[in-house]
Amino acid sequence: MRRLMVSILEQPLKIPGGLSLASNKAQSLREPLRQAPIPERLIVPLSQHIGEAAEALVGVGDKVLKGQVIARSLNYISAPVHAPTSGTVTDIGEYPVPHPSGLKGVCIVIHADGHDTSAATGLAMDNVFAADAADIRQRVREAGIVGLGGAGFPTAVKLNPGPQRQVELLVINAAECEPYISCDEALICCCTQDVIDGVRIMQHALGATQVVIGIEDNMPRAIECLRDGLARAGSHDIRIVPVPTTYPAGGEKQLIYALTGEEVPSQGLPADLGIVCHNVGTAAAIARALLRGEPLISRVVTVTGAGVRNPCNLEVRIGTPMAEIIEAAGGYTDQVSRLLMGGPMMGISMPSDRVPVIKTTNCLLIASREEAPPPLPASACIRCGQCTDVCPARLLPQQLYWHAHAREFDKIQDYSLFDCIECGCCAQVCPCHIPLVQYYRFAKTEIWDQERQRQKADLARQRHEFRLERLEKEKKALEERRAHARKGLEKRPKAGDADAKKAEIAAALERVKAKKASQDAAARNIDQLTPEQQARIAEVDARRSGDGTAGR
């Protein structure tokens, strides 16, 4: 096992590039976290994060209980889905989901019965700190927990660094760097104990020797809550490090750099450095699942912006339509102009408020025209290099733009397109108003698509070549058979040779007999059946002889 040395810096570093943005978090932090009402109808998508979609386990008309698994994960990088409340499944079908494409995805629609009756989940563990890491991971997986900070990577996978890697440092990401978003701060202040418990469980599961909570230095209230909580719990070994407030200091790679000075290798994982990074919300979700048996069926969502009457933080059931949450926050003001899921730098703009909240919905920003104005007309790049100054990945955004613009997908990868985290800093400072991030996204999806096409073409080529080979072989075999038959014909006795003919007939009869005998022998294999089995066979035979499609 490779021994790694990571240490937490005394003084956190400033990340490369980045922007100072007005934080705009105070609006939504005026009142404490509260529960959003459970809507009548919940739309629960089967795919809520990167990785494979889950497979529905319930049917239309089924009654479900809160916390019951309604879709299971089929894949390692996947997570099951639970019923957010008790009720009846009324539909399983395609509904609009929160995705930049505005396309529909398969969702389970549940009509709430209003009782919110819980199912027994069996997730809680008696003594979690004595439990085996694999057992903890299994429960985290069953609880459907995914990273609540960003892309929603299944947490159980990240809790498993693999047998070759030793995890030294667990980094808890509480640096909510994007403006407007305050759900982590609200959660820390209201559920400090859950956060600390979750951190402890993760530390135990990972076997990490050090734990650090990275938090932005403009969140003094959250820092205080954590300090108090840690002191109460006697957890003096967990360090809290306020990092300088810069967007995007809360990016995983950026936060690790700020705290340790280490750069996560491109295409690599923090685990390559002996570090694992989890979001605070994920920690709290783990505590709730493993200590109280609650799977991931709700999350904290910041509802904010000038377009909503009472900006606040709400605990929302997964599957709640966004319109209902906005209603719970006082409804729209007349300034509403855009609905964003996530913050103003990396959020996704929603085509409608009918889409549901999913596990990765950290914020609903109902922006006014002033907060999110329509895009300005773009002009040609003047190569001023301001984008280079702010790029946290130290890329050359204008070079990437140039090649994306020209659709030169090979060259754009020479400039490390896939190290771009799409933070939007470059587009934010561009004096030419070029939609840089969209160019990069265009290029990325285009390259992925080309890769898919290439794989498909390879498969087709392989299958075609195999087919040609097979046809060739068949042709050869046919020719051989024909040649053989011709030879046999030549050897056959001349017509009129009665004895020979008789012998031939006898031989044919013999062959028929032998065949029949072997068939009988085969039939004997299903002899001595119980009447039950025979009845079943008869049933199958009857079905077979009936409508050919009935079995479908």
């Binding site: 494409s101 773009a378 080529r461 299958r463 075609h464 087919r467 499609t549």
Partner: protein, 188 residues
Amino acid sequence: MLTATLALGILSALFGLLLGYSAIRFKVEGDPIVEQIDALLPQTQCGQCGFPGCRPYAEAIAAGEADINQCPPGGDSGIQALAELLGVDPKPLNAEHGVPQEKRVAVIDEQTCIGCTLCIQACPVDAIVGAAKQMHTVVAEECTGCDLCVPPCPVDCITMVPVKQDIVTWKWPYPESDTRPIVIARQA
């Protein structure tokens, strides 16, 4: 005069040697050209180019017997790639061979299928499964959308259905123009 001639002579000899050396030293070993062409073709095996499959077409291009603009599934980007590989000017798709169409996949109406196996024999990539007098079905992941199974079907039970775009295959659109970022798909 003599010095100048000599100097020039020596210089040219030196440069000649240098060039000759680098030609050997930095020689680029490439795939045979047919492989490279074949790698750029979409492998639909549809035969619209007039050759029985992508590889024969690649061989014909390499031999100079076919033009680079005969492959409708490859479309303009395919022609562009071929032109770049072969160092020739790209040209528009030859309409005689068809027009580019969106990606499609064959679907057999299983109620109508009589199990004649004709489509199975026509499929260039063995993407149709079934046996004589048994219902056939298309393995969608393996279907190249070549259309070759459609004509042989005696009961017209095969239709070519456009591949539906889903969230996994969705691509960000190219920003509409330099002067206006695109407004992306709106919900119906």
